[in-house]
Symmetry: C2
Amino acid sequence: MLEQETMIPPFTKGNAGITELLEYLHEIEDLEALSSLAEWDQNTEMPEGAGEVRGYQSATLQGVLHERWTNQRLGTLLNKLNAVINGSGYTDADRGLVREAQRNYDRAMKLPRKLVEEMARVQASSFEAWRRAREHNDFASFAPWLGRTVALQREVADHIGYTETRYDALLDFFEPGMTTSAVDKLFTPVREVSTTLLRRIEASGVIVDDSCLQGEFSEEKQVALSDVLLRRMGYDFSHGGIAVSPHPFTTSFGSPFDVRLTVHPDMHFIQSSVMAAIHEGGHAVYEQGSAPTLVRTPLAGGASMGVHESQSRLWENAIGRSEAYWKGQFAAVQQAFPEHFVAIDAATFARALNKVKPDLIRIEADEVTYNLHIIVRYELEKAMINGDLAIESLPGQWNAMYQEYLGIEPTSNSEGVLQDIHWSSGFGYFPSYTLGNLYSAQIYSALRQHYSNFDERLAGGDTAFILGWLRKNIYAFGAIYQPDALMKRVTGEVPNPAFFTRYLTGKFEAIYQLQ
Amino acid sequence: MLEQETMIPPFTKGNAGITELLEYLHEIEDLEALSSLAEWDQNTEMPEGAGEVRGYQSATLQGVLHERWTNQRLGTLLNKLNAVINGSGYTDADRGLVREAQRNYDRAMKLPRKLVEEMARVQASSFEAWRRAREHNDFASFAPWLGRTVALQREVADHIGYTETRYDALLDFFEPGMTTSAVDKLFTPVREVSTTLLRRIEASGVIVDDSCLQGEFSEEKQVALSDVLLRRMGYDFSHGGIAVSPHPFTTSFGSPFDVRLTVHPDMHFIQSSVMAAIHEGGHAVYEQGSAPTLVRTPLAGGASMGVHESQSRLWENAIGRSEAYWKGQFAAVQQAFPEHFVAIDAATFARALNKVKPDLIRIEADEVTYNLHIIVRYELEKAMINGDLAIESLPGQWNAMYQEYLGIEPTSNSEGVLQDIHWSSGFGYFPSYTLGNLYSAQIYSALRQHYSNFDERLAGGDTAFILGWLRKNIYAFGAIYQPDALMKRVTGEVPNPAFFTRYLTGKFEAIYQLQ
């Protein structure tokens, strides 16, 4: 990890303003890390009866953070720094630091502390309500919480402000500078390529056999297999760890030094935990790859949630669903479940992981249908936030859109509108996944261009060269550069959906032998 | 839990001062809970490479807490309340609240924030150093951290102030009002009864056979057995949970709603996890028994660490090492390890748990030698704090005292001076265990007097009547009453070591058929 330090522009040493800002932000980030820890605990270990008291704790901490982010001392310091930061004598890291601090300051200044605290309180209870509702297929018990979350998020958007739609204000939080109309424009070709490909695949008559992924797989052994796959990806367990939670996720408490992830094994379908491990592993190696000098600053971690998802999806799909990758890694799967996989080879396994079939569960979706799952959620959350969809109509609308986009319909809300954790806390995240897929294809193209023998190395079990390139070109920089600037540095151009449509079409024309 | 509320004096409603104090303390306790969560995580799940960054996080949070505890607004409010609190119109809960707030305020006002932050930082790294040192039997690598902790704790004592010795200032933190000379006086008869009994037992020639406790016991099954025993004790898993850690402990993040504990199974000796579960369970049911109205105040939880240990030791020893208890609970042990225990009965198992044998490990010690382990630690930490013992002499001194008090000597520092977690964070806690044993015997005597059919009910598998009595008389009150006042309410007199010497002598004269 240490060698990265020399590759990124360091913070300017000996500059009083930068030093003061760093000290100020260090403490804020320490508290942000503890806030993430409280959430991690709530998702992994917290007893069900502690939701209310945890809500108070989170609210108090959010209040303290709000106090820090809106402190006049910070405002004055940022004013001074902004006046000089674009001059010589400052590095890109300095500029990124000031920019991120300003973004947080501006946002916090617009939000009343009471609202921030109430959101934290509601979020804790809402999470518990969602967990129970999903377990008991009981949307009605979750609906009031969802209603409160929608109302609070609308209030947030009104405080933050927006030009076109309320939803813009939420989107910007996860993807700086992104607007609803820009997302609509980027998603149009994605929807088109997905539905077209799906039609061609269904018409082809080709069936991919994924029976080798089904069977009996103990939770314990699946977690152990995740461990092996993550280790081989370069995930560093001395700065990380795995837990089990109802919904897989990655979080960090001081990147790059403490980055953890969860999986959620399905006892009858090995694909879930394997692909979740690689997906979360992608997030995790990104966080672990931040230059150590960025620790305890808002620059440690990802450039945006879209860029973050580009890394999870890059590892999960472009790499983790390729035949070359499994040629190099399949032995670990066979060792974990020898009886089950004795007669299966890497190519069969990899092919099974690419079976295209409209299904109900987003995180298990193939690459062709995945973005349709996202577009459904994006359209629905946009409508909720913009006031065009009432909570009680949500399950019906969800099912109708699944019918329209994927030709299937959930038979339970647990498999439908309740499947994802996201709406227990807020809105505006879902587009990150599809943005991630777009960025991912573009980065993957640059990566392959760099290594002429990419597939050979991958098939030989080497993934370190990929991680090395990603760390050097992306991970080490954390959030120093914003998404568009980063994409230009890495790929030579701003995000362009053509990379994704080409990638997806090429890959699935080959698998399904389409003309 | 709710019915307890009516039994304790509630906080006065509608009183502006009490309301303001409660609101102020609620936020402090929320942050204290997050501080405990950070420690829990560090002990159970945190990756080894995260110690340094966690140290910064804890330090920052301690700084925020210090800021809150030393806030002028709190000082002014306490001044106003202290002027009226002993008049009519205030309840014991109000008085307890003001007293505890004042105690914390006074202490915080005496400590510089920088020192508090440094302690937190050192503690996180020191814990990691201790864990590694114990694993590798490498005292030398822990010694510098211990040295820093001693220096910091001496500095704390100097800031706090004391009449006789520095150690008094630390002791008072865990046991309000307790002094070194009072501890010396209470411990003298304990040491005497322990050494006398030990001599008589060794001279008796009677051997208690504990071979039934040895064998092969999987970690997983031991944790599952702990789960069953805890459930039957009345520990509420909807407000709790078990984890595994290098040293068993109990902590809470908002008593009574989130109280968790750890065990540390020994694969070859079932006694460790069974007795640790009941011991930690005692702490945990105490915390879970606080009246819900006390939540988010410094009154939720125990009256002192000595009273806390009285409950862990009461459940562990007076109850959990009795034949009557195991007549009611042994079936759970047999179900967990059927092959091993098929031919063993409850009486044999209970008798094995009472084998008296000088051993190296404190938490596995029998009741006769246990307090000698404590007295060794107490004498050593007192000497370190008072400047009479250098760190480099500690292992030798430890071993010499084990030879003197217990007639045995550790062959490794891991089994010697490195065995306990405590010195990685501070000093002054160890006397709590022996104070706990004294209080425990006195409370146990009152409890047995109350129920003439105590043993019959216990042997019938009932422990709910014990928990009910303890909750009603002790647990519900949290820290409303200080130790001496509480002991008087519950037992009719202040702490008196005669209860313990009588209990111990009676119990072991019977087991070892002494004249």
